[in-house]
Amino acid sequence: QNINQRKTEAQRVVFEIVKLTEDTVDPGEWGKNFPRQYDGYTRTVDVERTRYGGSENIQHLDTRPVWRTIFNGYAFSIDYREERGHAYMLADQRETERVLRRAQPGACLHCHASVLKAYRDKGVEAGIAPDEAHRGDAIMKGFEVVCAMPYGEATKLVEHPVACIDCHAPDTLQLRVTRPGFINGIRALARSDYPIPHFASIERWRKGSRAEPYDPNTMASRQEMRSMACAQCHVEYHFAGEGKLLTYPWHKGLKAEQIEAYYDEVGWNDWVHADSGAPVLKAQHPEFELWSQGIHARAGVSCADCHMPYKREGAIKVSDHHIRSPVLNIARACQTCHPASDSELIARVETIQSRTRGLMDRAESAVLDLIRSIQSARAAGASDEQLKAARALQRKAQWRLDFISAENSMGFHADQEAARLLGESMDYARQGQVEAVKVGGSATITPPTVPQGAAGKPPGQAPPPK
């Protein structure tokens, strides 16, 4: 009988079937001890769709062709898809045209595979002592080595997408961060003067002696770790220097303009735009950075609260390891905090998202017009000197647009901030067009791009709840 069973479940402890160590990479092994979490984990292969998200790996370049122009001259102009579940991360990276048709470094693996053991082995190979005390050093060294390797070689070192061991200590199952890129990044952030009210442990560290660098694994609260685990990968990055060292640009703060200021300072360009000749930046999945600007972060709501909500299985509450869009799981993801119906909560999400989408449509047109304008001025013989102002404005406009476009929540993670950046993007883009027109560029004004596929259903007011 059900109630009987549930009373038993409530008392059950973990049966240790397998002994887990730092060498147990295979999640299947972990699954023997933790079948519920493993179940969820494997379900990230599921394919589902939401209005603006979901996990169908559609080609964005087809649904929104304007991006072929915006990315012209860069690998993203040949293949750029909707991301999907964690189960696919390694395969998707190996198979993208960006890897097949362009040379990429081993640095890419950092976020697409269970790399920990590979890093450590390489570090030991490079001469770090193989004892427990030097495990961290070996990983950090191996990270540097792997970053610099060609992708084709490096990818042979790994075989699993992100696995249990990447987020959990094998003995205690405690949540942990393991990614060198993140550990370096969060230290730089801690050393900056960027106010970060949602990470009290950093504010505390700043007030201390600062003798030891900030260490999430020993200093962060459990609730903070529930976001930091994801901030290992869902962040903006670049590959610094010849060694292609994966670096998170948080030295001046997490806002788009602070990251831009850092890139300006170190003189970083992702590429030179093929049509306009402007030195531009590429934004990549700044979920953590955008979430940090939002009210949920401010109120202490973590990534895991929405993307890995608790799920009752019998008498036991487990974190749903089927990481996916919360829109597919409104009851558990939202209703523990918001007492409203499913349809009402979906309407709230879509109201925010359709505002963002509408602004993005406009900003895409503005950046497109700017590129065409510079291109035509250039064709008409304008000098680099004459085009300098317009190109600098393209860099700013495109960065802000891409920041919100590359971010994956369609503005939900910080709605007003997303709208602010898109607003600034349009201001800069049209200013740039004024500058370009001045030196002979075209003055065409394109109406907001019309979405080509269902991924961008036309924005509209969300319907009232039933």
């Binding site: 109630i3 409530a10 009851a331 558990r332 918001h338 007492p339 009402e344 709840p465």
Partner: protein
């Protein structure tokens, strides 16, 4: 408050059935909706008691119980002070209704999670706020287009029973 922000409003129509209806629903509630075994084992009869521990017999009520222990009401009001009507008939109708739905939910595991309070039960709660605090809020019982109404306490004091949700 906008329309329908809350969970489903189950049939409480038998409220109007009078005494015969009450007896009938009790019988139906006990024999159709759940087996006697379930009812006993879950200490279902403790629905008739006012001890909050009766509620945590179901682990599913644990969160509210833990929360309640930390609120100012811990010393002032028990679960039933807020969640059960305080006129005699209403009290037992509600207990049967709850007993039926909660046991059914628990037995068949078919209820909406997180648990959401129903409209009818929210009304009961609000009436109970007034029962204890009527003096303080007497001026807030104002004439409205729908007659004289009290304020909707839970609109502002949602966290008062077992702590804030967010």
């Amino acid at each position: 408050m906008p329309d329908a922000p809350r969970g489903p409003s189950p049939a409480r129509s038998f409220l109007g059935l009078g005494l015969a209806g009450l007896v009938l629903s009790t019988v139906l509630g006990v024999f159709l909706g759940l087996s006697l075994y379930t009812f006993n084992h879950a200490e279902g009869l403790s629905y008739m008691s006012d001890d909050p521990r009766a509620c945590v017999n179901c682990h599913i009520m644990r969160e509210q119980y833990d929360g309640w222990q930390k609120t100012a009401h811990h010393a002032a009001a028990t679960c039933n002070d807020c969640h059960v009507p305080h006129d005699l008939i209403g009290k037992y109708i509600a207990k049967v209704d709850h007993g039926y739905r909660h046991s059914k939910g628990f037995t068949f595991q078919d209820f909406h999670e997180p648990i959401q309070i129903t409209r009818g039960d929210l009304q009961i709660v609000n009436n109970n706020c007034l029962r204890c605090h009527s003096g303080l809020v007497s001026e807030l019982n104002v004439h409205t287009p729908q007659g004289v109404q009290s304020a909707n306490c839970v609109h502002c004091h949602a966290g008062i029973g077992h702590g804030p949700k967010r």
